[in-house]
Symmetry: C2
Subunit: 400 residues, 2 copies
């Protein structure tokens, strides 16, 4: 039996600081009175909480005044001058790093080619650490303190930040968090490692066009197919942190061999590498430039090349099968096609929708809308930033 | 964007009342000092909270003393004399009603044959209301106030308590909650309707041998196959309340026709009615006594009848396929085989485990243990009781 958590008055304060920050994130610039009205907190409490947030340089007053009726009120905005979060995405496409200040302003976004696919994990970890170090330096040179560094990986990440398996990277049991902390010299900010699907879901939940959706799944397939799940308003993690591993659900019994050794996995028939291999086989020489091959694929699809559109139609059906499983099990209100699936959405959406409707037991697919991500290839990096900012918005405030 | 919830001091009190009640539920009899030590609350707070709970007749002092060393302390136990919760299970096996007092003592447990399978829903609703009314009368005659009535249904239940579809009962769009409230004459206690899988999961989470497990799935298949999901410590509901509908995941493309009209659904190959139809076909005359057929099936399995053990082996493999999907998507630490699957577990467990290990992408099936429920056919009714008691333990206390 687990012990039920108790609460004290500092929890109340953290909860209410979080409410004020979230309100400002959605509505700034606004007055203390507007915050009180919007959050249901009384004005004296809001004044005290805002004072605290100003002291911590997370909020600042602005001279700007609200409309021109009545007495001008001093307005509040988020202050991004003191803190920033860093997110880093590791995929077969390369490394992407992004940093946003605590007000949501972008400080940097860089892309680097990854070491060759057959490079040892240690080489990749060194490349990740080098890129992270450069981003940290840039953030600090801007006068900001680093709130956190989160790294997204296309694979199983255990709760201690180790990568159990990332088939697309050829990784097994890489102690990424521990190695990174060492490579960065025990930094004062938290270092986190998370699954790319989970981070994509956080990006959609915080910044996407359907931000705040309570039941949302983000599906990505650039390396291995993975889903990030937000259910009843919270990101799901599961017993060991492995929620959302849909890539190895069997969709074609006896189908093509998958990287995992099984047959007919969703990943083997509908992952982006599998699609590219079917449409533009590259022989024995692995071509690292996935981007160029994808570009060519889209060009041919736009020209209605039947060899391409037929494959995309089939892939859409298989993805629809996989999404139908997610819909039956998790009843999301929204499924977001992320990564390169977003690019291919014009050809995938129709067959996905057809399968989804046929295979969902709930009428109208349980109210599920399927949509394409608007983040392009940066969703994971943005979600990684969001993870550190989510800690902030949950009331875990930094000290200056 | 949703507004983040704020907290006030009454939330703190509700949270702490809940912590004291939960501690007592697990550890009573115990002293105020033990509660303070176990919950981390200070003694003055515990004294005040316990006073409140005694006033509401949820806790009482007892003359019993703790061991014989030192000064005797007055001990506290849960008081079940003032309140009780009622749970009612509707399935193809019949109607089961249970009532437990707020201290967890059983007041009644009755089983009734259901109206014939082809009876109109209205007739079934009348039977449910009649049985509920009798249980309410019995609880009230014992001097207790009813905390809530929860009804479990093997089907899709929308958040407003309507049954969207329950194929095994032949129901479509039955406004069960509204109809029951009317039939019971607008009762003063809350009436809730929930999916049987969800309630089975609550029963395991509160009373099962692995009570308190944070990531648990309860699988039942007596009418339609359904799963109740507890993930990260919370029951999942989803966008419209349809989480856990695994019965119509396709396991055999082009397989046998399912009640839903699709082919090869898990329910059509591994549901209890499908198993019975394969092993002991009953011709054109539907036999309402599922219990007797199941008993005969077990007798033959125990006698190693190869016609039966071969079918159970196949069914176990298919269930393993379905459970592997749940494990890949939700990473549970525990899957509980409920209802009649628990009875058949000696024959199903081996093949389930084999498929699960082969099909899970996480090593060692993500740490998942598969076990049989110990509740027998009463899991849903017990879970329905637990749902009302969970409200109590969440700090929503009744007034006398």
């Amino acid at each position: 039996m687990t012990t039920t958590q108790t609460a004290d008055h500092s929890d109340v304060r953290a909860t209410n600081l979080a409410a004020v920050l979230s309100y400002l994130r959605a509505n700034a610039p606004c007055s203390r009175a507007a915050i009180a009205a919007g959050t249901g907190l009384n004005k004296a409490t809001v004044t005290s909480l805002v004072g605290d947030l100003i002291d911590r340089r997370l909020v600042r007053e602005t001279q700007q005044t609200q409309n021109h009726v009545g007495r001008p009120a001093t307005l509040l905005v988020l202050d991004g001058s003191a803190f920033a979060a860093i997110g880093l995405d590791v995929s077969a496409r390369g490394l992407t790093v992004a940093a946003f200040d605590s007000a949501g302003g972008q400080l940097l976004r860089w892309h680097r080619a990854a070491p060759a696919a057959d490079a040892a994990p240690a080489k990749m970890v060194a490349a990740i650490a080098a890129l992270a170090r450069r981003a940290v330096t840039t953030v600090r040179n801007s006068g900001r303190q680093v709130l956190g560094l989160t790294v997204g990986i296309p694979g199983l990440v255990s709760t201690d930040g180790s990568v159990v398996v990332a088939a697309g990277l050829g990784w097994h049991d890489v102690r990424l968090k521990a190695d990174l902390i060492q490579a960065l010299g025990n930094p004062p900010y938290p270092v986190m490692v998370d699954n790319d699907g989970n981070l994509g879901a956080l990006a959609e939940h915080r910044y996407g066009p359907h931000a705040g959706a309570e039941d949302l799944i983000h599906l990505t397939g650039d390396t291995g197919i993975g889903a990030g799940v937000i259910c009843d308003g919270r990101p799901l993690r599961g017993h060991l942190g492995y929620v959302g591993e849909v890539g190895h659900i069997q969709v074609i019994p006896g189908g093509p061999v998958c990287g995992c050794g099984r047959r007919g996995c969703l990943e083997a028939v509908a992952g982006i590498p599998a699609i590219l291999d079917r449409v533009s086989p590259i022989g024995d020489e692995p071509d690292p430039d996935m981007e160029a091959r994808l570009h060519e694929l889209v060009r041919r699809a736009e020209a209605d090349d039947p060899d391409v559109t037929k494959v995309l139609q089939e892939v859409g059906s298989h993805l629809g099968q996989g999404i139908a499983v997610l819909v039956n099990v998790l009843n999301p209100g929204l499924v977001v096609l992320g990564g390169s699936y977003a690019t291919l959405a014009p050809w995938l959406a129709g067959p996905i929708d057809k399968e989804l409707r046929e295979r969902s037991i709930a009428p109208d697919a349980g109210g599920c809308l399927v949509t394409a991500s608007t983040f392009g290839p940066d969703a994971t990096a943005i979600g990684a930033v969001a993870r550190s900012l989510d800690r902030l918005d949950a009331g875990r405030l930094p000290t200056l």
